[in-house]
Symmetry: C2
Subunit: 340 residues, 2 copies
């Protein structure tokens, strides 16, 4: 049986009230007494029963999710997962609110973050736009003891407690190796379609991709990046244009908005042997994988990311440890054979 507050009180030779004062850092405990209690806690290996504590406190975990207002399948999926989490919130004692901010707008994000320090949520998850101001705002909140996790796109160098997303450099490298190996001995050019080079995750994917191609597949030449702004129309036009180049033998689509890409491929490349790697499993990319328009899809599971962010924020709010391996967001690689 795990020890209770009563056991601590008995072991430390103090009353329950004093143990309570120490545990909940209430004032009015002499230093020596506090030490005695803390020793007892350590020696008995006491861990607060969070369920009982939450019951007594009637505690809920007010959490805030800050998301960019981007209209693409991935963000829609992420939103849907958050809504699912909201449905579960009474059972999980969470109270989740989402805030939409204009995409790629550091100032707007900073404004929202500043506002939160007054609202006092017990945890914040944000899809970070990578900018010094954002980093500063996040660091400030962390110093004010708000648990913060970045979601999908990280803010390296900041003090955020955790990142719930995939390693995008690894994702880019993996895409490069898959493409290189699938192409085998063929020589030619590779088109890269991104959303915007202003987003950290896209930059990182490209960085990993070009590194591996350069190191290990010297017969492949990467063409200048097409920035489709994650917009189907723009992407379609860019890819359709690019396919005029007969030297292209492979495509890496590292952003969202694959609808345009897929349409362009179906119009312009039915008769060509192209190897295509794309990111994010959606209804469109899934269909394209099945009909062989796309050869592999790299994916991050939005549901896992959301659930992980919530678990981590709750744990941080309670000062508890997390199971690291459980919170690592994995890069899913889907071929047509292992689709969920």
């Amino acid at each position: 049986m795990r020890p209770t507050v009563h056991d601590i009180a008995a072991a430390a030779g103090v009353s329950l009230a004093t143990v309570d004062r120490v545990l909940n850092q209430r004032p009015g405990v002499r230093h020596v007494t506090r030490e005695k209690v803390e020793t007892a806690i350590r020696e008995l290996g006491y861990v607060r029963d969070v369920a009982a504590a939450n019951l007594a406190k009637g505690r809920t975990y007010p959490l805030v999710f800050i998301l960019p207002a981007s209209d693409n399948s991935f963000m829609h999926g992420l939103n849907a997962e958050i809504r699912q989490a909201i449905v579960r919130s009474s059972a999980e004692r969470t109270d989740i609110r989402t805030i939409e901010v204009p995409a790629f707008d550091p100032a707007a994000l900073v404004a929202v973050l500043e506002g939160l320090s007054r609202e006092k949520p017990c945890g914040i998850a944000l899809v970070a736009t990578d900018a010094p101001d954002v980093r500063a705002a996040v660091d400030r909140l962390v110093r004010e003891r708000f648990p913060i996790v970045t979601l999908v796109s990280d803010l390296t160098g900041s003090l955020r407690h955790h990142y719930a997303g995939v390693d995008n450099i690894a994702a880019g490298r993996t895409a490069a190796r898959l493409l290189g190996r699938f192409l085998g001995p063929r020589k030619g050019e590779i088109a890269v379609l991104a959303g915007s080079m202003l987003v950290r995750d896209h930059r990182e994917r490209l960085e990993g991709f070009t590194a591996v191609i350069a190191e290990e597949f010297p017969d492949l030449a990467i063409l200048p990046v097409l920035e489709g702004r994650d917009d189907p129309e723009v992407a379609h036009r860019l890819v359709a244009d690019a396919l005029g180049n007969a030297g292209i033998i492979g495509v890496y689509s590292l952003g969202a908005g694959n609808r345009g890409l897929i349409r362009a491929l179906k119009e312009k490349a039915v008769d060509r042997v192209l190897t295509v790697i794309a990111h994010e499993l959606t209804a469109h990319t899934r269909a394209a994988l099945i009909d062989n328009t796309i050869d592999a899809i790299l994916n991050q599971d939005a549901g896992h990311e959301v659930r992980s962010a919530i678990r981590v924020l709750k744990a941080k709010a309670d000062g508890l440890a997390v199971i690291e391996a459980q919170e690592r967001i994995r890069l899913d690689i889907f071929l047509k054979d292992n689709l969920p």
Copy 2:
């Protein structure tokens, strides 16, 4: 605020005691009264607060894990994960016991299962040996209302509540496509190293593998399966012998015990261009992936499987729903770039 038993009592116009009798299926409630209460429960959307209930009951979840006594890295890893879960057990209110049974021995497994119906654990997880007797024993336990999940290897056609493991047919198919695509236009023979064709997961992987090779890669011929019994020595000898065949251009190792395979490859195939796909990420296979001896590793995360099995068993014991997407065990594909 979610409704409590008090709200139910008020809504149904009965006392708290009656609500309790209905909720905990205690006797002494007239049919009409029970209906009234059940209606109120439905209408208010009452869900028992499991944390409070467990607190009141002082409940723990006695769980039993039945594992084969196999001496390979994967089973060691699985054991380690269960030990981790045991460390967490006081916080999670679980009380986990493992039972080792001789591998590939249906009779022994059945004997253990029969013994459990007297012990009354509140959930059972087992690595199933696929045999009619085992299926019958499992079905019997399910009928006696024991929550049961299969772990790693499923028991299709049985009444088990859940399978915490990967889709092995999909795994085999994925391996085939990776191998086929990596080999590109090359023609040649493929060696397959398995543990034993008596285990369902190995059979299924082979089935998926041969199906895709046959359908889509007609230039590749699969050689008769080498059964290494997941033993490094046996595997080493078999693979070393097989590599005498100069027509082999690819290897699929679908079982555990890759140490022998890796040693054989390093001894006999340094000068050859072999594409190798293996299962299970271990220290050995990881090193081999990094030094290019292996080209891709398919993996199932034992930690996820164990945690998932525990979550599902607890939920079933409480009659609660699980988050399906969360409990799906994914097939991890590792290239050297996305290693964890």
